[in-house]
Every structure is written in structure tokens, then in C-alpha cells.
Symmetry: C2
Subunit: 338 residues, 2 copies
């Protein structure tokens, strides 16, 4: 942030996307202190206006000269756009919080979930990475466990919402489903497979060396970086399900020492950003419909993993809003700490 | 089967349900040799007719006297109905293949997936269990691996279709989704939670001793019984997703000896009832939409589990038609072997 300004001048790059809309909501709802807000997007959104704190703000075209006088840029414009424009923002003196994967694994880019490693923020050299949404939903609730009883191994299967692929994918899920219930044909445009009443392995390229796809590799690498623990062994299977905006995850993790479900519930009961929803009697557990629009990540189905008789392993099921804690909220939390 | 008849007299109990309809299709498609077919259902379906081999067959009320002269009864009428009427069928001299969980874990009831343990069929005392659908989809493709390189540990996360809860649940998914895209309210009647664009932990009761629900406990116990291996360590997390009729599973398993993805593909390439769909270049893997209406279980995303550096563990993603191999087809396969 420029030393001269107390309340920063903020820009949102990618303001018209699904995450962009939530960034504006989060800034508004959290009364983020800002002296001005500049909305940036690609040329096809230029001329639009977006409401912020009761005002209609114009959407301007994102280019190399967009960042003069800006202190903080919240980037949610995809990896290629971030690679192209974030360096210009840094050169103009702004701090970039980038939601894409462009810089996340760079050694001099802190990758931050504030509940886990807020202290990393101070080390930034102009860019701070906002982690992958599946990583955020998976590991935010794991951190308080890891601090008390190191997690050695983590196996994740995701149930990911359309929102992770943007507003157009959410529209495609909705419209293709409408076509299905009306018995009309529908040709997918955004996603590679029919989505209505279907699910599919995450549509990022498979690394032929490992067999893992791009999304899975991000979850695995980012977990190690955010936990600051290169030795934690992680495997992820990432699957898109026909849900609009909250990711769910089925997790099994193995700790260094024995651990019980009651201990886990106790640790999570006062963990920030986490809410235990684990009503075994009413059979009420985390669901995307309840996680949608919520800041907290919901965790339930907490039990000993019976495939590990040593008592070191726990399984749980969690759900978190992909657009909020999985993206916009986490970015705004980082900006608040700057 | 009665010794006197060569081609058996067959009855289907629960003929008007989702699995019942598929039982008739399977008998027809596989040209099952039968001298007569009797359709049985609850009183509320009496008077209906169902098409079989071009004929309209009447649906009769299932009662204690339904089984005179019947050689084979395919039961798909739920656990309580099976408990009540299957013993009468056995007393009348028929062999029962029961799709419910009523008798599956009884010591003198063979629990059979023909690709795995067809030899057990001969040991029956009148009742043969048709396994849980999630168990069938999970373990049919695992068996040829297990025979060559014993599986010690198995961790399953399911993505289960509405059909597992019957035709009414499929209707509820469809109608609640129609209501959602038309922005109309919908009150769930069959399932405990809103299902449109949502998912939830399987709605069977949680065992307070273990924290696992009924569906998960079945998958875990039935795997041991069908494999004839009480020492295999299994954990399942069962989740209902908004898909109509094919179950998917994300699996991680650990073998006694090292194993490679190529070995797995080679073993599965000539495994009965299994089809490898694992195109890493085109990013094409098993999906419910492709598994629906297929006899085979589709297996893909075959890779080393990188959370186990020993090279003993494999992860894969599979999908199988819940109504076919998960229920009706498997039952008809058993009847064919009788």
C-alpha cells in the first residue's frame, strides 16, 4: 500500500465475473475501508456499470495503464490475464491479490489462507496468491488439527460446483438442466461434457507423468506450501458435480499421534472460519445448499477411519461456498490484513 | 429349482419398482429361459399390467400364497417385504434372489457377484443375496486385482444416484429440479433434503458406535463377505448426488505388493463386467451419463496414489448403472447360474 494513503484506492480486475460480483459484495458487507473503487474488465464488458454501496460504478477496460494511483488490486481475471497485467500493477506501486494459479507456486509469492498463515502476507513482493478453491475448502478446517497433531497423509475426493469454472459454467449447468427437464437437446459450450444430471472428472489437463489433473496437482502442491510442510503426503481426486456454487469434499487424513472424533470436534468448535455441522441423530451434515452464501466451511461426518486400525486416521465431509471462502472472501480477508 | 422342470417358472416380487422394470428388461434382453413369469407387487399396484416379450402380464398382489409352482423368485421389494415373504417362497420350493439387505449377512445366505464368487451360489439354502449397489460398483473391478495382488486397504467415496432410493426418488430429483429451474418452491416427500443442485450424506441411520451410516456399513461388511477376506480394511463415505441412475465411486486401494497403473489397466482389460475408459489425452473418463444403460462398470483415472510413496496404492474413478449391474442385471446373472 502506498505510504501516503491511509484508506487505500482499490481496483477489482475481472469485476464482471462470478468471483468479481462476490468481491464487490464482500467489500460492501465487510465495510472494507477504501478511498475509491475502480472496476476493470475485458473490452467486452466496457461500458457496463455495477452497483457498489448504492452507486453505479462504470466498468473500465483493463490495460497496462489501469493501475495509476491504485494501492490494492483484487485480480479475478484468469491466469493469462493475471500474468499479463499483474506485473504492471506491481510496477505502479499496487499490491496484487491474485485469485488465479498464475503466481501461486512462485517462491516469492505468499500463498495465504488468513486462518492458516496470515503471517506470510508481510513477506510479499507485490503479489499475494489466493489459493485454489478446493484447497481452501479442504485445508482451512484441517489446519487447527495439523497444529496439534501433525497430519502425515491426506486423501481428498471433491464434489465441485459449476462456479469454479465461472459464471458461464453456472449458466450452462442451469440452462442444460432446464433443457433436460423440458426434454430439449442442449449442446455444451463452456464445459466439455453434458452437465445436467451428470458429473465428470475435473476438466483440467492430466499430467502424463503422474496421472493427476491440473486441479488435483494444485490442491496437492498448495496444501504443502500453505501448511509450510513439504512432507505432508496428499492425494486428490477432483470431480465436477451438478451443483451451482458450493464445493464439497470427502477427506481421510492420518495424524502422527492417535486422535479421536471427539478431539476433532473440540478442536474445530473454536476454529475460525469453520462450523461443525455433525448431527448424527437427525442425519444432518454439510450440504452445498447450506454452505452457499455462508462464510464458514461446514464440517461433519467426523469419525474414525475404520480402514486404519491404529486410531490415527479420521474421515469427514465438508462443504464451503466456492465463490466466498473459496475465492472472493479469502481475497478480501487478505486485503484487510495488508 | 424344482427337479421336475427344466425351464423354471419365475416370479418377480416388486415388479412395478425401478429395479423391477429393469429385471423385466434384463430377462427379456438376455432371453432368460422361463416357462412362465408371474409379476407380484403390493396391493396398490394390483390390476396394473406390464409388458413382457410383447405380452401384457397382470400384476398380482404379493402374499404368502404367491409362490406355488414357482422355481425362482427375483425379490426387489425392500427389506421388510423380503423378510416377510421370502421364507414363504422358500417353503414353497422356490429359490429367492433377494435385492434387499434383509438376508445378505446371514451365514447361510451366499452373497454373490457372479464375476467374483459364482461358486457360492451352489451353497444356498433357498435364499441368495444380491449385494448393495455401491458395493457392486466398487468391488466388481477390484476383484481381478485382489486375486493377483491382495488388497489390504480400501477407501471409497461414492457419488450415488437417485435410483438407489427407488423410482419415487428419481421422480423427486427430476420434479424438484424442474421446480428449481422454473423458480417454483418444492417440498421433498421421498428424501429428507432438497435434491435439486444439491447433494447430501446418504440418508441411512448413523451407527453411533462407529459414525458410519447404514449404506457405508453395508459396503464395508459386504466387501469382506464377497471377497471371502475378513481382513481387508475398508472405509466408505456414501453421498447422494443429483444424478438419476448411475453410481460413481472414487477409490483408493493399497495392495500387499507394489503395483503400477499399467498393470491395473492390463488386468482390467480382460476382466468380465468391466470396461476401461481412461483417455488421459482427451480427458475422457467414466461418467454417469455413459454408464447409464450399460452392463459394464466403467473404470478410469487409474494412477498411483501419490500419498503412498511405497508404490503399493492405486486410485481410480468408476461408474456403473445402479439399476443394471448394481441391482437387476446382477440378480438375473445369479438366476442364470442357478
Amino acid at each position: 500500500m502506498n505510504a501516503k494513503s491511509k484508506t487505500p484506492a482499490v481496483a477489482v480486475a475481472g469485476a464482471t465475473g462470478a468471483v468479481g460480483a462476490e468481491l464487490l459484495h464482500c467489500l460492501e458487507k465487510r465495510r472494507f475501508p477504501l478511498s475509491s473503487l475502480k472496476l476493470l474488465a475485458s473490452p467486452r464488458s466496457a461500458g457496463k456499470t455495477l452497483k457498489f454501496r448504492g452507486e453505479d460504478l462504470p466498468v473500465e477496460v483493463l490495460d497496462e495503464n489501469s493501475f495509476k494511483g491504485i494501492d490494492v488490486v483484487l485480480f479475478s481475471a484468469g491466469s493469462d490475464t493475471a500474468k499479463k497485467y499483474a506485473p504492471h500493477a506491481v510496477k505502479a506501486g499496487a499490491v496484487v491479490v491474485d485469485n488465479s494459479s498464475a503466481f501461486r507456486m512462485h517462491a516469492d509469492v505468499p500463498l495465504v489462507i488468513p486462518e492458516i498463515n496470515a503471517g506470510e502476507i508481510a513477506k510479499h513482493k507485490g503479489i499475494i496468491g489466493n489459493p485454489n478453491c478446493s484447497a481452501i475448502v479442504s485445508i482451512t478446517p484441517l489446519w487447527p488439527i495439523h497444529r496439534k497433531n501433525r497430519i502425515k497423509r491426506l486423501i481428498i475426493s471433491t464434489y465441485q460446483a459449476a462456479s469454479g469454472a465461472g459464471a458461464a459454467a453456472m449458466d450452462e449447468l442451469f440452462e442444460s438442466t432446464r433443457a433436460a427437464v423440458e426434454n430439449r437437446p442442449f449442446t455444451p459450450r463452456v464445459l466439455p461434457h453434458p452437465y445436467a444430471f451428470n458429473l465428470f472428472s475435473h476438466n483440467t489437463a492430466i499430467d502424463p507423468r503422474t496421472g493427476y489433473n491440473g486441479e488435483e496437482s494444485k490442491v496437492m502442491a498448495e496444501t504443502k506450501k500453505i501448511f509450510g510442510d513439504p512432507d505432508i503426503r496428499v492425494s486428490a481426486t477432483c470431480v465436477r458435480v451438478p451443483v451451482l456454487r458450493a464445493h464439497s469434499v470427502s477427506l481421510t487424513f492420518e495424524c502422527e499421534k492417535p486422535i479421536t472424533p471427539d478431539e476433532v470436534r473440540r478442536i474445530l468448535s473454536d476454529a475460525p472460519g469453520v462450523k461443525v455441522v455433525d448431527d448424527q441423530v437427525r442425519n444432518y451434515f454439510p450440504m452445498p445448499k447450506d454452505a452457499s452464501g455462508q462464510d464458514d466451511i461446514l464440517v461433519g461426518r467426523i469419525r474414525h477411519d475404520l480402514s486404519d486400525p491404529s486410531g490415527h486416521s479420521i474421515s469427514w465431509f465438508a462443504a464451503g461456498d466456492q465463490l466466498l471462502k473459496g475465492a472472493a472472501l479469502n481475497a478480501v480477508q487478505i486485503a484487510e490484513l495488508l
